[in-house]
């Protein structure tokens, strides 16, 4: 871990900022929309300290100015109601924070899957979904691509055993009067089963995911 040993910008003066007049509401209307500090994306940015101090001062002034102006919030009552509900749902106790940190500390830091992992499987599921339940041009395109998918054994085999089983079993369980009657899905199921059988006979076994 790399640690800065010192603040990288000069220490600000000990006197308060001279800008005591509230900023114009062009800035005031620009309320921050996230609780993330603005420096999240630049931990060692030399401007961080200055930027934060200015932002902190401006926010404070905005709050003071708003209280003085008597905020006009036409949906204040509504906000209060939904706010209370949200409060209850989002309340976080100290015990939960402790549990979070214990978990983060205890769990082995396994690297996440490669970002390209499962893209092809996801594609197959999206195509099956849109071909069966989608609409308009997208449905036509999905149907066409799904058909090509079903007739390309190599592409199917590349999906891996788990995905093929999931596809085939999933289609098997669809209600016959519903999506189970979709011809494209039935073709996909047959192709998936065939690919599974081919792979079983093949000297190179299909990859089995952990």
């Amino acid at each position: 871990m790399e640690r800065p040993s010192r603040w990288s910008t000069p220490r600000p003066p000990a006197t308060p900022r001279t800008r005591l007049v509230p900023p114009p509401d062009g800035f005031a209307a620009g309320e921050q929309a996230s609780s993330l500090p603005t420096s999240t994306f630049g931990a060692r940015d030399p401007e961080v300290e200055r930027g934060l101090s200015e932002a902190a001062g401006d926010v404070l002034l905005r709050f003071l100015a708003r209280e003085a102006a008597g905020q006009d919030d036409e949906s204040a009552t509504q906000s209060a109601t939904s706010g209370r509900r949200e409060d209850a749902r989002n309340a976080v106790g100290q015990d939960e924070l402790t549990a979070l940190f214990e978990h983060l500390h205890a769990a082995p830091a396994e690297p996440p899957d490669d970002l390209s992992a499962d893209l092809e499987a996801e594609r197959a599921f999206v195509l099956a979904d849109v071909a069966a339940a989608g609409d308009g041009l997208a449905r036509q395109i999905a149907s066409r691509e799904l058909q090509a998918f079903s007739t390309d054994p190599l592409r199917l085999v590349d999906l891996g055993r788990e995905v093929l089983v999931r596809l085939a079993d999933g289609i098997d369980t669809l209600p016959p009067a519903g999506f189970g009657s979709c011809a494209l899905l039935r073709v996909l199921r047959i192709a998936a089963r065939r690919a599974l059988a081919e792979a079983t006979r093949s000297p190179a076994p299909l990859e089995v995911r952990e």
Partner: protein
């Protein structure tokens, strides 16, 4: 009404002007909602003029910013990039709206700005006559004689405007059933990648501005920035970074098909509304699938960013679903952003609280991406303030050896930094809690003068 409040009205008026452009692009002529919005905008203008005791409101446009009385309207400048772009293309330096401006004039001006055949109306020689011919008696413009006099603004404002513009443009195109601007999307993401490598905090500073608009532009931009940051932290190459950024930027494109009355409803959605909302993921996949040149990852992310790794959530997929690794990353960033977002109707959560809630519902998230997220962003992100268990406040200056042991600088303490809970540094001290932004304003000045 004081100066502060009337300035807010000027900002609202600019927002209304931008909305008028959007309405003309999206809604049929005579749409009552659009007319009501224009009426309200004109009322805001009247209130401004009345309160200031002036005869007009004059807006200036320079260096990618809207200014009133010399003060930039940052939020409006970030969101109104379409308006600014059209004004820039016509070399308009200022617009003046006099007392008595009508909603009809507002509409005419918006039509004029949208009509590419009428660009000549803004040449200095034609300007006065053209405006009068169109009935714009209370509105006037000042234009530069030569095109391209405004120097480009090579800074974070422009970078953010580009990201926001592609989200907005693509949502408008999707709502109208038009082709998406995919090349622009890639270009904006590449611009963001360059910014991340040089001055990343500038971009996020802008990304944290309010984004309550028709297409939740700011949310999409923030999710994209977070996803790119986490992806970068695990060492993906530039090509993959571009794919992640583009997919995350477009992940909510399906919301362009959800009525705004549902999208922005405050309070609980009823069953029908919920069904309509939950379809935005399928809509998104359909929109992107129907486009040429969209990478499959963007289609997948749009479809499955509300699905858990086990496939729970929505949409109610036809087959038991399997989200990709990229979708699982975007889901983590999407939920985290939503929880930490500040909205008028809900309190913001600190990043640590947001992570605790995500931990509470941990089956909903890919744990490895969640860990990578915490490693990259931190439970107490750099720049945030914390209260220590000994009652002191401190600012986080770097990630520490553990998520709850950041490197901090104590308010009023020495200039050196210390690791929380480490012998020889801040021994026997822990982080009691992270401070909300609104609390940090108290700690901030104290830290800086300490």
């Amino acid at each position: 009404m004081n100066h502060h409040a009337s300035h807010a009205d000027a900002a609202r008026f600019v927002r209304g002007l931008d909305e008028a452009l959007l309405d003309l692009e999206l809604l049929p002529p005579g749409d009552p909602e659009a007319e009501a919005r224009r009426d309200a905008t004109v009322a805001v203008l009247s209130r401004y003029i009345e309160a200031r005791g002036v005869l007009e409101l004059e807006l200036h446009f320079a260096a990618g910013l809207v200014k009133v009385d010399g003060e930039p309207l940052i939020e409006q400048s970030l969101r109104g990039s379409r308006l600014l772009g059209r004004l820039r293309a016509r070399n308009v330096r200022s617009l003046r709206f006099e007392r008595g401006t009508t909603a009809r004039e507002l509409r005419t001006l918006a039509e004029l700005l949208l009509d590419e055949r009428q660009v000549d109306a803004f040449s200095p020689a034609n300007l006065g006559a053209a405006f009068l011919r169109l009935g714009l008696t209370h509105v006037s413009a000042r234009c530069e004689r030569r095109p391209g006099v405004e120097s480009p603004r090579p800074d974070a404002v422009r970078g953010y405007q580009q990201l926001a513009a592609v989200v907005q443009d693509n949502h408008i195109a999707a709502a109208r059933g038009d082709e998406l601007e995919l090349a622009d999307t890639s270009g904006a993401v590449e611009g963001a990648m360059r910014w991340m490598a040089t001055r990343p905090s500038d971009l996020l500073a802008l990304a944290s501005y309010e984004d309550v608009d028709r297409f939740t532009v700011g949310h999409s931009v923030r999710v994209a920035l977070l996803a790119m940051l986490v992806a970068r932290s695990v060492g993906v190459d530039d090509e993959m970074l571009r794919l992640v950024g583009s997919a995350a930027l477009l992940h909510d494109i399906g919301k362009s098909k959800v009525p705004s009355s549902i999208l922005f409803k405050r309070g609980r959605l009823d069953d029908d509304e919920w069904r309509a909302m939950s379809e935005h993921t399928r809509h998104g996949a359909e929109i992107l699938l129907a486009q040429k040149g969209v990478h499959p990852s963007a289609v997948g992310v749009a479809f499955s960013h509300h699905l858990s790794p086990a496939g729970a959530g929505y949409p109610n997929a036809v087959l038991p679903f399997m989200p990709s690794s990229m979708s699982r990353l975007v889901r983590v960033c999407d939920v985290f952003e939503a929880l930490t977002a500040m909205r008028p109707y809900k309190p913001e959560l600190t990043p640590a609280e947001a992570l605790a809630i995500m931990h509470r519902n941990r089956a909903d998230f890919d744990q490895r991406w969640l860990h990578a997220f915490v490693a990259a962003i931190g439970a107490y992100p750099v720049g945030s303030f914390v209260e220590l268990t000994d009652g002191r406040f401190a600012m986080v200056v770097a990630h520490g050896p553990r998520a709850n042991r950041p490197v901090v600088r104590v308010v009023g303490g020495e200039l050196s930094d210390a690791v929380v809970g480490v012998p020889g540094e801040l021994e026997d001290v822990g982080v009691l809690r992270g401070l909300r932004r609104s609390e940090s304003v108290v700690a901030g000045p104290r830290l800086l003068v300490g």
